[in-house]
């Protein structure tokens, strides 16, 4: 066991399992025809069914079943040809029927896994089950409204997948990595947009500590309200330290649900085991069991896209780029697609990777933009790389050209022409500029010849400045050195 996997001076090991809720990207809700679009005016995307009016009945959205099967297949699960819904009973104002239609005894998918890479090593995290359920609405508490709250039921009935992991996770970093990989797969499949801030991807964690070497699990706490990768890591780190101090002081961890408070950076008790709900699950009598044919499963399997792991391996083997590059480039389908288009258009694979992970990501991050909003097309990057290869522009000029292309979506040729950025490789012109610089820098030339070779940078800078940065740098270097000898 490596040192990074233990806590409390090597005495303890953490046992973590995650329950992920992913909102499915269906057009309509799971049991009625209302829109699932985010951000509408409160209670404008509702109908008698999702409001839970008397006498209404659910009708299952086939697309939701398809998405769940798709996800199960992508995570190596067994797909149940016979599964059913159950009712989870509890009272809350955002739960209009007083029960959530979910799956309990017979979920749609069971027994899969996700592989993550932590510190260069691959680790397999088991998936216990994936089941379908309906989302609840939202309670809105406004201090200005005094003694009452509002309920928005637009979200009620939006289809969710609950993806439950095995307790295979050992560190906060693994947990965050698992979530990143989960998000990546869901987005590749197009079944969830993975937006943790808006809550379309949510994560609860079960965590317990045990002395290193012990087989039995310790008493666990359930953590809620961690709505970013960073918070998952922070909350788990906090909780590990909290549980260790309880144990070190001879105390017992209490089985309870705790909320992550991101402002205070702590977890706080929400309810204890004694206060936990008895959900009184029983089979949902308003829906018939879900029967899935092998043909349907096969059809969905045939339509699965290439997933991140397979794509990463292919990028390494067919493009010869390092694992690290491949991992980053395949984290999002949009990024990998962009990359492949640039390479197909003739861009040298490693060069494309460098430009994307460097300049392109920098510029996008500065504006908080995603690749989908990017004006620059991958073919244009390939075009620019061609100009570098044939010496038309230098690497230094390329940065300027790239930024221009990024801002205006123009081809490299056009930018170079417009801005007069063609590299000067005319020896005569460069020599002339060098002569002028050396003529007015007699002192520096003397010091250089006396052995202060660092001054070469000064001379290059001066010449470049005189030539507005357009000198062919290699040629400039050679000529300069020759002249200074």
């Amino acid at each position: 066991m490596s040192a990074q996997e233990t806590f409390g001076n090597g005495k303890y090991e953490a046992v973590i399992g995650l329950e992920v809720h992913a909102q499915m990207l269906t057009e309509t809700k799971i049991f009625c025809g209302c829109s699932t679009k985010f951000g509408a005016e409160p209670n404008t995307q509702t109908c008698p069914v999702d409001i839970g009016m008397p006498g209404v009945l659910p009708v299952l959205n086939k697309k939701a079943v398809e998405f769940a099967i798709k996800t199960g297949l992508a995570m190596g699960c067994r797909i149940s040809t016979y599964s059913r819904f159950a009712r989870k009973n509890y009272f809350y104002p955002d739960l209009p029927k007083g029960y959530q239609v979910s799956q309990y005894e017979l979920p749609i998918c069971e027994g899969g896994h996700i592989d993550i890479v932590v510190d260069g090593a691959v680790k397999r995290i088991g998936i216990t089950r994936i089941h379908m359920e309906e989302d609840a609405g939202k309670n809105i508490h406004e201090s200005s409204s005094g003694n009452y709250s509002f309920v928005d039921l637009n979200r009620a009935g939006v289809p969710l997948m609950e993806i439950v992991s095995e307790p295979d996770i050992r560190t906060p970093k693994e947990a965050a990595e698992y979530m990143r990989k989960m998000r990546s797969i869901l987005r590749y499949l197009g079944v969830c947009d993975g937006n943790m801030e808006q809550g379309s991807l949510r994560c609860d964690a079960n965590i317990s500590m045990r002395p290193v070497g012990q087989k039995e699990f310790g008493i666990r706490a359930e953590l809620k309200n961690m709505n970013s990768f960073r918070f998952i890591e922070k909350a788990l780190e906090y909780e590990i330290n909290r549980q260790i101090s309880v144990l070190e002081e001879g105390g017992k961890v209490v089985q309870e649900t705790r909320l992550w408070d991101s402002a205070a950076g702590v977890t706080q008790s929400m309810r204890t085991k004694e206060e936990a709900h008895d959900y009184r699950y029983f089979p949902e009598p308003d829906l018939v069991p879900i029967e899935v044919t092998q043909e349907w499963i096969k059809g969905i399997e045939a339509g699965l896209p290439e997933l991140p792991d397979a794509k990463r391996e292919r990028f390494v083997s067919s493009y010869g780029i390092p694992e690290y590059d491949a991992e980053l480039l395949t984290s999002e389908r949009a990024i990998s697609d962009w990359y492949e288009r640039a390479v197909t258009a003739g861009g040298q694979p490693k060069a494309v990777s460098n430009w994307m992970m460097g300049e392109l990501m920098r510029l996008l991050n500065e504006e908080n933009k995603s690749l989908e909003d990017c004006l620059l097309k991958p073919e244009q990057l390939a075009g620019m790389l061609k100009l570098m290869d044939n010496g038309t522009i230098s690497g230094k000029i390329a940065k300027t050209v790239f930024e221009e292309m990024y801002r205006g979506g123009k081809d490299a040729d056009a930018v170079v022409k417009e801005k007069g950025l063609v590299q000067i490789s005319d020896e005569g012109a460069i020599e002339k500029a060098i002569d002028e610089v050396l003529a007015r820098s007699a002192k520096e030339v003397e010091r250089y010849r006396a052995g202060d070779e660092k001054l070469i940078g000064f001379f290059v800078g001066q010449v470049m400045k005189a030539m507005k940065g357009k000198a062919n740098p290699q040629l400039l270097n050679d000529l300069l050195k020759r002249k200074l000898q």
Binding site: P48, I51, G52, M53, P54, G55, V56, L57, P58, V59, L60, R87, N89, F91, P93, P96, K97, G98, Y99, V151, D278, R280, Y281, F282, P285, D286, L287, V288
Partner: protein, 484 residues
């Protein structure tokens, strides 16, 4: 004979022949309601103005020779079926202000034929009861003897039909709630196969048992009504994708050689003598029509009531969770959310509803689920197998509908178990999901109607109705009217 005393089939001819107008039929119905409703109290809401407006539409269709079987026919609807824009209370204080913004599938289908809704009928609160004494508003009286209950939970619909306050009615049957009041009120009541009729818009009591069906003055009318409401509904996943036949075509078919099963568990030592005599008489009559009686056994009958009261209450405890004062219906004030919930449900629900919510909540609780709910489901499977086995040798089963004729108001209100046992002969049928009809087969010495129950195979209402029709045609019981 007054117009309100006629049947659907009888009125259809008069309306189509232009001998009477829909509004004249309504005049007769509302005159009757004005005269006796103060005594019988069949209705919770009378929708007179809307009915007269609908009658104008119906008349236009009739004049254009575009009448359907129910065009211009006054029909009463049990108050647990949602009617758009019309109060739908389930006879509960918790819904005493609830006006649905949508229409149940069954009433939408009746509406498609331009029926006339006379009003919404009284019932036991949320269909939980066998006498209408559990109504949150008032108790309906039996038209044959106003000191007696009309049965329940569809007691308002049954009394309205028996008292000629409408031509026909819809009820719902979870454990006998159509058949038992039909038996008590001397009319015909049909519970179709589970899945035959859409439950969309029927306020749920126990989803896996509830089924809507007609209460009518004779078997022909029941077939006409079933024709309109039967068939798959995309809004109800549990409605079967099974083509519904024209049920009226089954009527008049021979029953010669038909094997009628007599389940021995339904004829026990100490049963009500009047009922025993009437039912035996009916079996003799069917035999004289060519049917062949065969004794059969439904060995798990004795467990039906227990299993039913676990399954039905479990589902009810969940189905009724939505009445929480948050979104619609009655709300009682409270200092916080929990208190508002508790006050609303304590004041909004009646005693029987609360009793069943508690029973169901208990049965589903952690640690009890296997012993109660799961066990009851296993019993349900065995009961269903009993029927499958019986139907491998017979075509239809014959039993009493209820262990007695109508009992007196207040007689069983203090003893819930006695009340539950009044459904002892009807409950198994819901657990098995098979169709059954109750038809009049005689009268008690006290002059109260007695019902005969005919039970069929899944989706074989035709055999049930053909048998019922043959019996009805050979007797006069159905023609007797209460002397109200």
């Amino acid at each position: 004979m007054k117009l309100n005393e006629l049947t659907i089939a009888g009125l259809r001819k008069l309306l189509d022949d232009r001998e009477v107008k829909s509004r004249e039929v309504l005049d007769a119905v509302y005159k009757r309601i004005d005269d006796i409703e103060g005594t019988v109290k069949s209705y919770i809401t009378v929708t007179k103005d809307a009915a007269y407006r609908a009658a104008e539409d119906a008349e236009k269709a009739i004049r254009a020779n575009k009448a359907s079987p129910l065009t211009g026919i006054p029909v009463a609807i049990k108050d647990n079926m949602c009617t758009k824009g019309i109060l739908t209370t389930c006879a509960s204080k918790i819904l005493d202000n609830f006006v649905p913004p949508y229409e149940s599938t069954v009433t939408a289908r009746l509406g498609g034929q331009k029926y006339l809704l006379t009003g919404k009928t009284n019932m036991d609160e949320f269909a939980m009861g066998s006498s209408t004494e559990n109504s949150g508003f008032h108790t309906t009286r039996n038209p044959w003897n106003t000191e007696c209950v009309p049965g329940g939970s569809s007691g308002g619909s049954a009394a309205a039909v028996a008292a000629d306050e409408c031509i026909a009615a819809l009820g719902s049957d979870t454990g006998g709630s159509i058949r038992q009041p039909a038996s008590f009120c001397g009319i015909v009541g049909l519970k179709p196969t589970y899945g035959r009729v859409s439950r969309y818009g029927l306020v749920a009591f126990a989803s896996s048992l509830d089924q809507i069906g007609p209460l009518t003055k004779n078997v022909t009318d029941a077939a006409i009504m079933l024709n309109v409401i039967a068939g798959h509904d995309p809004l109800d996943s549990t409605s079967a994708p099974v083509e519904a036949p024209d049920f009226t075509r089954a009527l008049g078919r021979e029953i010669k050689g038909l094997r009628i099963g007599i389940p021995r568990e339904y004829f026990v030592e100490g049963m009500d003598k009047d009922v025993e005599e009437a039912v035996h008489g009916a079996i003799k009559r069917l035999e004289s029509l060519g049917a062949v009686p065969v004794e059969v056994s439904l060995p798990h009958t004795g467990y039906a009531v227990a299993a039913y009261y676990i399954l039905a209450t479990s589902e009810a405890s969940s189905n009724l969770a939505r009445y929480d004062g948050v979104k619609y219906g009655f709300r009682a004030a409270g200092k916080d959310l929990l208190e508002m919930y508790m006050n609303t449900r304590a004041q909004g629900f009646g005693a029987e509803v609360k009793r069943r919510i508690m029973l169901g909540t208990y049965a589903l609780s952690a640690g009890y689920y296997d012993a109660y709910y799961k066990k009851a489901q296993q019993v349900r499977t065995l009961i269903k197998q009993d029927f499958d086995n019986a139907f491998s040798t017979v075509d239809v089963l014959v039993t009493p509908t209820a262990p007695s004729a109508a009992f007196r108001i207040g007689e069983k209100t203090t003893d819930p178990l006695q009340m539950y046992l009044s459904d002892i002969f009807t409950i198994s049928i819901n657990l098995a999901g098979v169709p059954a009809i109750s038809i009049p087969c005689g009268f008690s010495k006290a002059g109260l109607p007695i019902g005969l129950q005919l039970i069929g195979k899944h989706f074989d209402e035709e055999t049930v109705m053909k048998t019922a029709y043959a019996y009805e045609q050979s007797t006069e019981w159905h023609a007797r009217r209460p002397g109200l």
